[in-house]
C-alpha cells in the first residue's frame, strides 16, 4: 500500500482525495452561507427568514439548488455563446482553485507552496475576468455597465490590498501562508496592525462586490448588473462563486490577521479544540461581519467609492507600510 501511495498514480489519488476533503466542506459552507445570510438579515430586520423547508429552514439551500437546476438556461441571441457560457464557469473555478493553498490547520494545506500569498493575490485579482467577460458577452447595456464598474472597482481596491499584504509580509519575512500563521503565535497581527486590518476588510468587501460596494449589481440602476442575462445554472455558478469568494476573503483575513488555526490563548481548555475548528470559527466571524455590513450600510455612490479607494486607502496604507518598515528596522524586530 505504501508503495502505491508513493507512485505517481498514488500521489494523484491522494491529491484528489485531499481536494474533495477540502472542497466538499467549502461547498456545503457556501450553501449554508446563503441560508445564514438570509437568517441574519431577517433577524436584523425583525423578520423570521426561511423557516418552511426543513427544521429552521435548514433545507432551503438545497431547495434553491434544485429549483436552479430545473430552470431553463437562456442564452440571448445577441450573445457571444462561448464566452457567455465560459464566464460563470471561470468565476466558480477561480473561487475554488484558490483553496489549494489555504492552511486550515498546521500542515493541512493541499499545496504548501513558498509563494502562497502571491498565489492567492493572483487568483483573487483574476476574479474580475469572470465578471467583465460576462458583461461583454451578454451584449446588453446593463450587463456591460455593471462589468465596467466592476473592473474599475476591483482593480482600484487590489492596490490597497497589495500594500496591506506587503505590510504583513514585512512582519513575517516569508510568503508562505503556514509561516504567516506561525509568526502570529505571540500576538495576532490585527492588534499591532489594526488600521491595516480595517482597510483589508473594507477592501475585501469591495473586492467581492459586496454591500456597501455592490455597484456592479446595483439593482436600483442596473437591474442586476453583470448577470442580468443569466438564468438557471449559469446564474447559480455566479451566485456560488460570489459566496465562495466571500469565504475565501474571510479565510485570507483569518490567516493574515486573526492567527489562522491558533487558539486565542495557548492554554489548556482552548488547546483541546482542534485548529481547524478555530479556523472555521474565525472565518464565520468575518462572514457575519460581511452580512452585518450589508444590513447596515447604504450603497456607496460610484465617485465616493473611487475616492475612498484611491484618495484614502491608498495613501494611508502606503504611509502605514513605510511606518511599519521604519519601526521594525529601528527596533530590530525585522525577521531575518
Amino acid at each position: 500500500m505504501d508503495g502505491f501511495l508513493a507512485s505517481p498514480a498514488g500521489v494523484l489519488v491522494i491529491t484528489v482525495a485531499q481536494t474533495l476533503a477540502l472542497l466538499v466542506p467549502v461547498l456545503i459552507a457556501v450553501a449554508y452561507l446563503t441560508w445564514a445570510e438570509r437568517k441574519v438579515l431577517a433577524a436584523i430586520q425583525l423578520r423570521k427568514g426561511p423557516n418552511v423547508v426543513g427544521p429552521f429552514g435548514l433545507l432551503q439551500p438545497f431547495a434553491d439548488a434544485i429549483k436552479m437546476l430545473m430552470k431553463e438556461t437562456v442564452i440571448p441571441s445577441g450573445a457571444n455563446r462561448l464566452l457567455f457560457i465560459m464566464a460563470p464557469m471561470l468565476t466558480f473555478l477561480l473561487a475554488m482553485v484558490a483553496w489549494a493553498v489555504i492552511p486550515v490547520q498546521d500542515g493541512w494545506a493541499i499545496a504548501d507552496i513558498n509563494v502562497g500569498i502571491l498565489y492567492l493575490f493572483a487568483i483573487s485579482s483574476l476574479g474580475v475576468y469572470g465578471i467583465i467577460i460576462a458583461g461583454w458577452a451578454s451584449n446588453s447595456k446593463y450587463a456591460f455597465l455593471g462589468a465596467l464598474r466592476s473592473a474599475a472597482q476591483m482593480v482600484s481596491y487590489e492596490v490597497s490590498i497589495g500594500f496591506v499584504i506587503v505590510t504583513v509580509l514585512l512582519c513575517v519575512g516569508s510568503l508562505n501562508l503556514t509561516q504567516i500563521v506561525r509568526a502570529q503565535e505571540s500576538v495576532w497581527f490585527f492588534i499591532p496592525l489594526f488600521p491595516m486590518f480595517v482597510i483589508f476588510f473594507i477592501s475585501a468587501l469591495a473586492e467581492t462586490n459586496r454591500a456597501p460596494f455592490d455597484l456592479p449589481e446595483g439593482e436600483s440602476e442596473l437591474v442586476a448588473g453583470f448577470f442580468v442575462e443569466y438564468s438557471s445554472m449559469s446564474f447559480a455558478l455566479f451566485f456560488l462563486g460570489e459566496y465562495a469568494n466571500m469565504i475565501l476573503m474571510s479565510a485570507l483575513a483569518t490567516i493574515l490577521f486573526l492567527g489562522g488555526w491558533l487558539p486565542p490563548i495557548n492554554a489548556e481548555p482552548f488547546t483541546w479544540i482542534p485548529g481547524f475548528v478555530w479556523f472555521a470559527l474565525k472565518v464565520a466571524l468575518c462572514l457575519f461581519v460581511f452580512i452585518w455590513a450589508r444590513a447596515t450600510f447604504p450603497r456607496y455612490r460610484y465617485d465616493q467609492l473611487m475616492r475612498l479607494g484611491w484618495k484614502v486607502f491608498l495613501p494611508f496604507s502606503l504611509f502605514w507600510l513605510v511606518l511599519t518598515a521604519g519601526v521594525l528596522k529601528l527596533t530590530g524586530w525585522l525577521p531575518a
Binding site: 498565489y119 485579482s125 473592473a151 482593480v155 465617485d303
Partner: protein
C-alpha cells in the same frame, strides 16, 4: 518526463494563442488570447522553478495590465473597415521591416553556441540552496543591481506622471463633493427635538379634511367653495 510533457503542452498553447492574438478578427478575442498566452508563460516559469516570477507575471500582467487593456478595447468603437483601408499601401513597408527582423533572427540563431555552464544550468535552473526563489531575487536586486532597479522605478514614475498630466484637465463646471467640508459644517444643520405636530401647525401645512367633511365636499353645493380653504 511529466515536466517535459507539461513544457511542450504549455509551449504549444502559448505559441498557438500568440498566433491567435494577431489573427483573431475580434479585438476582444485578441486580448483574451493574450491573457491565455500570459498564463502559459507563467506556467513555463513554474516549470523552470521560478515561482516568484510566475506569480508576479500573473498578478501584474493578467491581473492589472490586461484588465485595463480589455476595458479599453471593449469601450473603443473600432472601425474595422478603416483599419484595413491602407493595407495595400503599407504592405511593402511592413514586409521590409518583417524581413529585416527575420534576417536578424537567422543571424543570431546561426551564431548560437552552447556556453560552458549552460548544460549544467539546463539540468538544474535553480541550484539547490536554503535560500528561496524570492529571497534570492531580492538579494540580487537590492544589492548588485540597486541603481538599475531604482532607475527602472524612476522611469515608471515619469511614465505615470506623464499619463496623469495628459488626462488631467480642469473642469470648473463640474460639481465636486468635499466630504471634509460637509463633516466640518456645524450650526447650519442641526437636529432638535420638537413636540409632535408642532411643525405642521407653525408652517400652516394643510391636513387632509376629516371624513364627514370630505363627504360634504363631494356633493357640489354653491356658496361653499371657500369651505376647503381652512387654515
Amino acid at each position: 518526463m511529466i515536466a517535459a510533457a507539461a513544457f511542450y503542452l504549455f509551449a504549444a498553447i502559448l505559441i498557438a494563442s500568440a498566433v491567435m492574438v494577431v489573427t483573431a478578427r475580434n479585438p476582444v478575442h485578441s486580448v483574451l488570447f493574450l491573457i491565455l498566452a500570459f498564463f502559459n508563460a507563467a506556467a513555463l516559469f513554474l516549470i523552470a522553478g521560478a515561482e516568484f516570477l510566475a506569480m508576479i507575471l500573473v498578478i501584474v500582467y493578467v491581473g492589472a495590465v490586461a484588465v485595463l487593456f480589455l476595458f479599453v478595447v471593449m469601450m473603443l468603437d473600432i472601425d474595422f473597415a478603416r483599419l484595413r483601408e491602407g493595407f495595400q499601401r503599407y504592405a511593402p513597408i511592413g514586409a521590409i521591416v518583417g524581413g529585416i527582423l527575420f534576417l536578424e533572427l537567422v543571424l543570431v540563431l546561426g551564431a548560437w553556441t552552447f556556453a560552458d555552464q549552460a548544460e549544467a544550468l539546463r539540468i538544474a535552473p535553480t541550484p539547490p540552496s536554503p535560500v528561496t526563489n524570492t529571497e534570492a531575487l531580492g538579494l540580487l536586486l537590492y544589492t548588485d543591481y540597486i541603481y538599475l532597479f531604482q532607475a527602472a522605478g524612476l522611469i515608471l514614475l515619469v511614465a505615470m506622471i506623464g499619463a496623469i498630466v495628459l488626462t488631467l484637465r480642469g473642469r470648473p463646471a463640474m460639481r465636486r463633493q468635499n466630504i471634509a467640508v460637509q463633516i466640518a459644517r456645524s450650526g447650519s444643520v442641526a437636529a432638535e427635538k420638537v413636540p409632535v405636530g408642532a411643525g405642521i401647525r407653525e408652517l400652516g401645512i394643510r391636513r387632509p379634511p376629516p371624513p364627514e367633511e370630505t363627504r360634504r365636499l363631494a356633493e357640489p353645493a354653491h356658496g361653499e367653495a371657500d369651505h376647503g380653504e381652512r387654515h
